[in-house]
């Protein structure tokens, strides 16, 4: 469902990848290409959290990477605050923050060093960097270990630092790809709190996850992605069956598996 007031619109996005001989053998297919994202469309309104839910290999990460300008789509486009990611990637990059759950920051550096480094890459003026660093470090409780190397920090602390680094330039839209990937309970809680805090600040968030409880807790809108296709999307309360997102997902998933829906 596309909205006129959307700050981010994904339009008929399609992405295929070439399969090498080994990958074809593993996937037991003769096809030389695989469709990771298949004619995907959705939109996100300003200040909302949109959750893209699906199993591993469904196309979530590819979608997030296309939105973040990291990879190009074969067809379709994404508009971020009116700018096409294909035509104006630099303009889009200034407006977005991106964090992948796979990210492991270099443990040799301190949170302060990394904050300053990424601020400089984001062309944030020095004075603004100092002000923003102090504000964010205070707000998220990073100050006490700001000058410790990441190697000495817990996984929750590291994740907090990674989150802060993704928003050094104060983006209005933040893309989180599987932010709780491989995290323990405490670190996952840190993520949830962080996302809610950003929502409170009026940020627009696009989140990919396969954890239904996280989506139920924080998302305004959700979309189910299976085999690269967006099967169902809309406000959380409309999509969830009896307030249960997991049941809603699996009723669709099972229908596809059984051939009742294509």
């Amino acid at each position: 469902m596309l909205s006129m007031s959307a700050i981010l619109s994904v339009l008929n996005l399609t992405k295929t990848f070439r399969l090498n001989r080994m990958q074809r053998k593993l996937a037991n297919t003769a096809d030389t290409r695989i469709t990771a994202v298949d004619n995907l469309s959705f939109s996100v309104n300003e200040g909302e959290i949109f959750g893209l839910l699906g199993p591993n290999g469904a196309g979530k990460t590819t979608t997030m990477r296309i939105i973040s300008t990291l990879i190009n789509s074969d067809a379709g486009d994404v508009f971020v605050d009116g700018s096409s990611v294909k035509e104006y990637p630099l303009k889009v990059r200034r407006k977005i923050g991106f964090l992948s759950g796979d990210l492991k920051l270099d443990e040799f550096f301190t949170p302060t060093y990394l904050f300053d480094f990424f601020s400089a890459l984001r062309e944030v003026p020095k004075a603004e960097t100092l002000e923003r660093r102090e504000k964010l470090f205070n707000h998220f409780g990073v100050n006490e270990y700001a000058h410790k190397k990441l190697a000495a920090l817990s996984s929750g602390m590291k994740q907090k630092v990674a989150f802060i680094i993704s928003i050094v330039h104060d983006p209005s839209i933040i893309i989180f790809d599987e932010p709780t990937n491989g995290m323990d309970l405490l670190a996952s809680r840190t993520v949830t709190e962080f996302l809610l805090e950003l929502k409170k600040q009026g940020k627009t968030i696009i989140l990919s996850t396969h954890i239904f409880s996280l989506a139920e807790k924080i998302c305004d809108q959700v979309g189910f992605i299976i085999n690269g296709k967006l099967i169902n999307s809309g406000p959380l309360n409309q999509i969830a069956v009896n307030n249960n997102l997991e049941d809603a997902f699996f009723s669709i998933y099972d229908s596809i598996r059984d051939g009742r829906i294509s």
Binding site: I71, F98, L103, K104, D106
Partner: protein, 411 residues
Amino acid sequence: MNFAVKNKILLVAKKEWDRFFGDRRMVISALIFPGVMIYIVYAFFVPLIMDMPTRKAKDSVVYAINPPPVIQSILEHTGITLTLISENEKESVLEGIAERSGNFLIVFPQDFIEKVVVYDVRSGEVAPEILLYYNSLSGSFAEHYGRILTALAAYESSIAKKFDVNRTAGGDMADTGAVGRHLIAIVLPVFLLVFIFHGAMAVTTEAITGEKERGTFATIFITSLTPIELAAGKIFGLSIQSFLCGISGTLGIALSLPKLVDSLASGFPMQDGMSALLNLNTISMNQYSVVDFCILALVLLSTACIIVTIISIIAIYARTAKEAQLLVSPMIIVFLFISCLNMFYNQGNQIAIYYYFIPIYNSAQSMSDIFNQSYALNQIIATITTNIFAGAIGCFVLSRLLKTEKMLITS
């Protein structure tokens, strides 16, 4: 930390330097350790090992029966003092030698000199014979055995001598300094290339594949940094580090050279003739000027640039830093081959200018020219510009590879 550096290439390079110089273990293992180890090995261990037979030989006794005074005197010149014994003591000395005492016994016939004087080679008679008893299994065998044979050979040639050589004039016309420079030019380019390669491999695989492994490229690429800026920043930063690693190892060699040369000159007295011929004391870094070192530094820096670029391109295909090191390691054979090619075929010879347009080979050749002090400015300029140009092409290739989707996928 001052992030006033506006240029993003410098920013990336600075991050690499902070990463390297801030990591005590990295600095010690890649920068300080090779140089210090080489210095210790060459300056202390090698002389110690070379000195070992001499020290052991000092405990050995060279017994003699009926030695002529002239031979005694020749042997004394080579540091061997004979201990005279009678025929009666012969058996007990021989038993000692058999039990690896390290001693020697030289038995001369009675009136040896007189017999030698009257002996006519053409007569067909049996020549006077000297019997030398030793045990080749004893540690000091080689040291004294060589000296004794040298002394006896010297005496043998002296009794047939009918003319003098160089009594009033003449001699070796070679520039003694050039001999030393020639040896340095053979040895140091190989070490320099190996040390730069070793340093480059350590820092580049971590900076390229390590970054890919950690998934940080994605975070960097959604900033305004372009792939070419990232590639240039990495290559620039890592080239400086590799250059310093190369310098560290070479400093170790250069500083230990005088001690190594001392031990070469004094450790094997039997090689006195050889050391005089080579004039080993001319193997010194003092004979090079500041300009020579500056030119060498520029050649090394351009060499480091091209080595880092090659390693970066290979490392980008690896999934882990370990895999990258495995992929890169065989390249050392290529580098050794190229520097050895130079070592054996082109030492001291002027070669055509187009050889200086072949990356890596030109570096080995230019280094050799610098150490031989036979370099021409156009050759050095050709080497540096070729390497920088090749590095720039490599940087472009690297930036194209950094743009590919494969960069974001580690598994």
